[in-house]
């Protein structure tokens, strides 16, 4: 069985090189930078704090509010600065990816703001954003049940692979590319799942299993980045 050849020579289950660090925005209550290959995301958390306007307050639990924004120059064809439909959708997806683990019941009428900025894009930006956001939330001291780790599983023609690059997203052999971004907690709960392409049920289940293994690797790096923040100071 010949091994599937990926453009950058990685193995099927191999992630791109990851770097992660917390405490990169001094003004923020918590912050982090997460990069996967050439994709770089930075996240900053402010809160919990009073929510304005008052009519948006939820007396039963706090609100998580995420904003995702790509820098105009993060991609080849400049993006006009400011929010657009795609960034608004990803902002919401990010909220849904993180909400299940945050103990929002502790903060009625309050809001936790998470701001994500993509400095450089080479696919997997929403995943990098979610990974940075999860670290930033922990760094901010927000009570959480567990961490959230995110990765994109891809299918190139018939082959499932882990962590797509932009080049792989444009793969046009056979069945073409399928992009499956997934976010999971460290105890295997899926908090975010999207798919763009085509896949049968069996391979979909296989993709989830691959994601479980891959997000475990992401988790170890997120954990180490948080611990490094305190180790440095000792």
């Amino acid at each position: 069985m010949t091994a599937f050849k990926r453009p950058d020579g990685r193995k099927i289950e191999e992630l791109r090189p990851i770097t992660a660090k917390v405490g990169v925005v001094p003004n923020a209550d918590g912050s982090a930078i997460y990069s996967s290959g050439n994709t770089i995301a930075i996240a900053a958390v402010y809160g919990p704090k009073k929510m304005h306007p008052q009519h948006s307050q939820n007396p039963e639990k706090g609100t998580l509010r995420c904003t995702y924004l790509m820098n105009s120059f993060s991609v080849s064809d400049r993006i006009k600065p400011g929010p657009n439909r795609r960034s608004m959708e990803i902002s919401k997806i990010t909220e849904w990816a993180l909400e299940p683990v945050i103990m929002l019941k502790n903060f009625p009428n309050q809001v936790i703001d998470v701001h994500i900025n993509i400095i450089q894009a080479d696919a997997g930006t929403r995943c990098a954003g979610i990974n940075a956001a999860a670290m930033a939330l922990a760094h901010a001291g927000i009570p959480m049940k567990s961490m959230v780790s995110s990765i994109s599983i891809g299918k190139l023609d018939k082959q499932l692979v882990v962590d797509l690059t932009k080049e792989e997203e444009d793969y046009h052999v056979g069945e073409g590319p399928t992009d499956i971004p997934i976010s999971m907690t460290d105890d295997g709960q899926i908090t975010h799942l999207q798919l763009d392409g085509k896949i049968n049920h069996e391979q979909m289940k296989e993709a989830i299993e691959m994601a479980k293994e891959a997000t475990k690797k992401v988790y170890e790096i997120q954990k180490q980045a948080l611990k490094n923040a305190l180790e440095e100071k000792k």
Partner: protein
Amino acid sequence: METSYITGRRIKEYLSLGKRFDERKLNEFRNITIEGNVSNKAEGSCRVKIGKTEVIVGVKLAVGTPYPDSADKGNLMTTAEILPLSSDRIELGKPGFDSIELGRVIDRALRESGFIDFKKLCIEEGKKVWTVFVDIYSINDDGNLLDAAGIGAVVALKNSKLPKYDLENEKVLYDEESNEKVPLTDALPLTVSVHKVGDSFIVDPTREEEDLSETRVTIGSSRGIISSIQKSLGQSLSSEEFSEVLDLSQKAWDEIESKIKKYLK
């Protein structure tokens, strides 16, 4: 909770003695560090830190039609986004006035100084010219985003390459490597913002100093030639005070230039 007015009294008291909380002189800048090429899809980019203040600036080039009154010249568009990421004081939603003003002030400094050789950005007179987009993003606001952005714009442009252009297919070949630099002159249009706090004039305020600023004059100049001025905020200045501001800005410009020299090889 803004506690600035109590601490502010002390800051002003201390300034009247010619001193600042971080031991700088009134006309002194904080430590400046610059990192080039921080975003690989940009034609040019850099990260500038002044003390804890941080901005990222990226340059993108695109081909478009020239303005009718400058048929043989390329265009410049400068935009700034003071991100909510960078401070707990930013409201979500449309760009605030501060972002708009920042973009426009830096734009004028770049444009009027003759820094960019717009004629060399012409591909086909009347039909095709390059537009230079300079986009500024704040990452941490600890005061003086303006001057950090000004430095960032200049350095990012200096390390910007002109992409290859496929005239026949009318396509910019972003992914192909190019060795041609964006055509610039030897001007260095840096901005220096001078703030009036109490009775003292200071440059490069930290955020807690900036909170007390009663009036700000931003001067964009290159080697003694002023190309843009913006006076902001509500207080007035006497002409003597304005002269003091000009002198201060010149000294500060020299200081910034020497501090960033090593990044401009």
